[in-house]
Amino acid sequence: MTSQKKKVLLAPLDPVHDIGLKMIKRGLELAGHDAILLPPDYSPEEIIKAAIDNNVDVILISRTLGYRVAEILGSFIDLAEASGLRERVKIGIGGMAIKPELAAELGFDAGFGPGTTVEEAIAFVEGREYIEKDRGARKTKKDITEKYDYTFKNKRIEKLLNTIADEIIEYVKGKTTPGIERAKIREKMFESDDEAELRQLRKEYAAFCDDIVKAYYANGALKEKTRQLTSEELKALKSYLEKVKTKMKPLNLQHIDTNPVVFIQYGTGCPFMDIAHIKTCEAWGADGVVHFDPSWGARTEGFYEGFITHEEDGSVITYENLKLIKDALMPSTLWQVRAHRGLNTPETVLLAGKVGADLTKINIAYGSLGGGTDPERLTVDAVAAIKYAAKFKMPFDVVTNEELCGVPAHKAFAGMLIVTVLGLKLGARPILQPLFCYSPEVMINGQMKDNYIDFNAAKIIALKRIINAPIWCGAPIGFLTQTEDRVQSSLSTALHASLASSLEVDGISIASADEAYSGGPISAAARVDTLRATQSAFRFFGHAKIIPTENSEVWASQIVEGIERTLESVVKNGSFVDALYKGLLGSREEGAYPGRAGRGTVIKNI
């Protein structure tokens, strides 16, 4: 016990409800205090007399709020005050509808609403100043790669991957791209504060850009539906953030230590709107946020500069935009800037690292087979990007979204593992990000005809049999199982989250309840839906497990064998880049098309 022993009267000013008080009574007694629990339905006069007779230090009242109950509680406080109790007895109120504002209005010394811990009530009893704890400060940023050593359990696969990764490193030697050159110039810009030099560097940068970006560096012109945020908008953002900061009382989603960290994805097109979404999600417990860039940005050589908004999905990557978002984050929030596809991959990782992102996303196989970028170009760019990720100590995930095109899991996983080993060889810390949803492969082959559990479980089991590496289920989990019904979508997300947790993965990305069918910007309320659903699911299962059928083991073995076969074919082919064009990691028949953006832009023999 940390303070003087107190005598506490617990009184349910209510016909029936006293469960909360019973819990507090136990907590108070464990903390060494005396607690007297009155039966329900005592009159205010009887409660006050009991407080006087027992010479108590504190009264805790519980009451369910309803019609005219506020007046009843106000009368109780008045009577307590007129009886002279309040000069020496503190009085707190608890109940499902109680908020600090209401407690103040009712005249109590403290209010305990839903989610109040017994510890908070004890702190009040012990006379420690009642300020709601800054739950955000208690949240800490988690490094999900920390406990992994990346040792291979499947030595055959390890050997094949080493061969392929070495070939890639050899392949990119002496090659560069406009994307790599722009990143190098951008690095020089960061180091210079000489205006003349910066002007010259911008000219050099523009020379490596597409026409729509060149126009910006020539005369400030931006593409249609795109504009700079005004100074009033930036001022409003600052004021919004100051207000939000004072109100932030973030929830924790995890119930046990092994529940995965939960990421949400944002990319409304407007950094201000993004920040509002991020703050909402932080408040409701999201541990991490993922920056989605626009699809045109991925297919355009070069980045704009400044605070830019546009009326399309995905938020424009500029140093300034990223800085706005970084500055808005709680210190505990993990932040990922995706660079896995497109023509600006190295510079994206450089900007993310410079601004202070925690994570990035790089995958050659997905970016070139499902993301629209030329395989050769992305291979050369990705090696440079991974080097930046290593330099900034930013782990990156390797997502297998080509599964959504129809590529079977074993082929997508082969691509993922190649980039993983490439990352390890270049000094980075990769994270496996298998798709955790209802993919075209299973729609065709029927592995999810009975349940959504077995095949998702098979994927995780397969990866764990191969390598000791962090796993972050993507992206978003439960994709294509969700409908326009927000309740159904939330439940489906929560069930997938529970399965991922049961399989002991490290992270998950979740969608909002209206993400698949929003037909426009998604709503903050729908974000809260899935965060709350996930929190409830974690609470429901705790350490209990979901048990897949024997199919999961069978399919896991098939996936491992399929990965091995795929890698053998790539090794046999001799060239990784050529294997991508040939469809060895996902063929046209399976829905994977080698991208065309940036084709023929690799500069050789430098």
Binding site: A82, S83, G84, R86, A104, E105, T246
Partner: protein, 356 residues
């Protein structure tokens, strides 16, 4: 008269509208430095309980507010903290701040008499406020015992039956108008903190309770009330049923006997005003007296025809109104006090009563 309380009979009876009207008049007509605090939580846009839109509190530059520290940036007014008090609310420590730029404020100040007194005195003495307005909360009135005068805000939100509402308001005013006791009694009980029986010849018997709120307390008290007893002093709350029980015990001895309370609010908080008045009348019929050490004068009554009507089928409240003219006429007929509808009449009449 420097500390003015605005107490409501229920939520939505017009406390905040009355305070807002006063603040507006003060800022327009004089350079008076006004202090503002609340024994509840006020100034928010939406009512905490009914979910309906509420009037808000606007303060001009130079005025002073005592509120919880967590609320200083919630309104649009720019506030500079002058003093951090040792008083706490569920929303944090109470601070006293000066308004640096006009705007809306959200107020949650001290919610008990002793702390209200400390904070209000600091506003008057240290910050130079000429008047401090204390905003009430719900139907709560107990902390208002420290004010110099009260404005009672009532209206259809308390009871949409005009006749019943008028009668109740009359009863409240009658209770608050209980006679102040003679100086000799004031002197005798000035240092007494518990219930005390004052006997013939000045002998005083004290009792361990300070509030008369339960039959058991009355039963024990009976033991020390002898034939020599002339008065009983109750410094804290008196509940109407306990008072009835006391009358029963005293019976015929009540003739010439004085029941002495600290202030009328100690009785007002205990039951419906109608029942309390019935008991007071009984005392008078039996030729006894109920008197108070300190009066809390009612300065005016403000009326509000609005009430939130609860729709059971939709589980929401909707705005509704009673006949304003009828309410005003009936109220004025029943009370020897100014009756004001702030939204119609403005707060000028109240300003005059307060001496501005």
């Amino acid at each position: 008269m420097r500390i003015i309380g605005v107490a409501g009979t229920a939520k939505n009876t017009g406390k905040t509208t009355t305070i807002s009207g006063l603040l507006r008049c003060v800022s327009q007509s004089s350079k008076t430095k006004v202090g503002l605090t609340s024994i509840g939580y006020d100034g928010e846009e939406i009512d905490n309980i009914t979910g309906l839109v509420k009037p808000r509190l606007f303060l001009n530059k130079g005025n002073v507010v005592a509120t919880a520290i967590t609320l200083i940036n919630v309104g649009s007014a720019e506030l500079k903290i002058i003093e951090e008090t040792d008083v706490f609310t569920p929303l944090g420590r109470v601070i006293i701040a000066e308004v640096k730029k006009d705007g809306l404020v959200v107020v949650a100040g001290p919610n008990k008499s002793l702390e209200l007194k400390i904070v209000v005195e600091a506003m008057l003495e240290e910050l130079g406020c000429e008047i401090v307005l204390v905003d009430g909360a719900l139907n709560r009135i107990a902390p208002m015992a420290i004010t110099d005068g009260l404005i009672i805000a009532t209206g259809a939100a308390r009871n949409p039956d005009v006749a019943e509402l008028v009668q109740e308001t009359r009863h409240i005013c009658d209770i608050l108008d209980l006679a102040e006791t003679e100086e000799s009694y004031k002197k005798i009980v000035s240092d007494i903190k518990t219930i005390a029986v004052i006997n013939k010849g000045g002998k005083i018997d004290t009792y361990r309770y300070s509030a008369l709120i339960h039959d058991d307390i009355v039963s024990e008290l009976r033991k020390i009330i002898t034939d020599d007893a002339r008065a009983v002093y109750i410094p804290a709350a008196v509940s109407q049923p306990a008072l009835e029980k006391l009358l029963e015990i005293l019976g015929a001895r009540l003739s010439g006997f004085t029941i002495l309370l600290h202030d009328p609010i100690k009785l007002l908080v205990s039951a419906s005003p109608e029942r309390i008045v019935r008991t007071i009348n009984k005392v008078e019929v039996l030729k006894g007296r109920i008197e108070v050490l300190k009066k809390v004068p009612v300065l005016a009554v403000t009326i509000n025809p609005f009430y939130p009507r609860y729709l059971f089928d939709k589980n929401i409240y909707e705005p509704a109104y009673v006949d304003e003219e009828l309410l005003r006429e009936e109220m004025q007929k029943a009370l020897p006090l100014p009756v004001v509808n702030i939204l119609k009449d403005g707060a000028d009449i109240l300003m005059k009563i307060l001496g501005f």
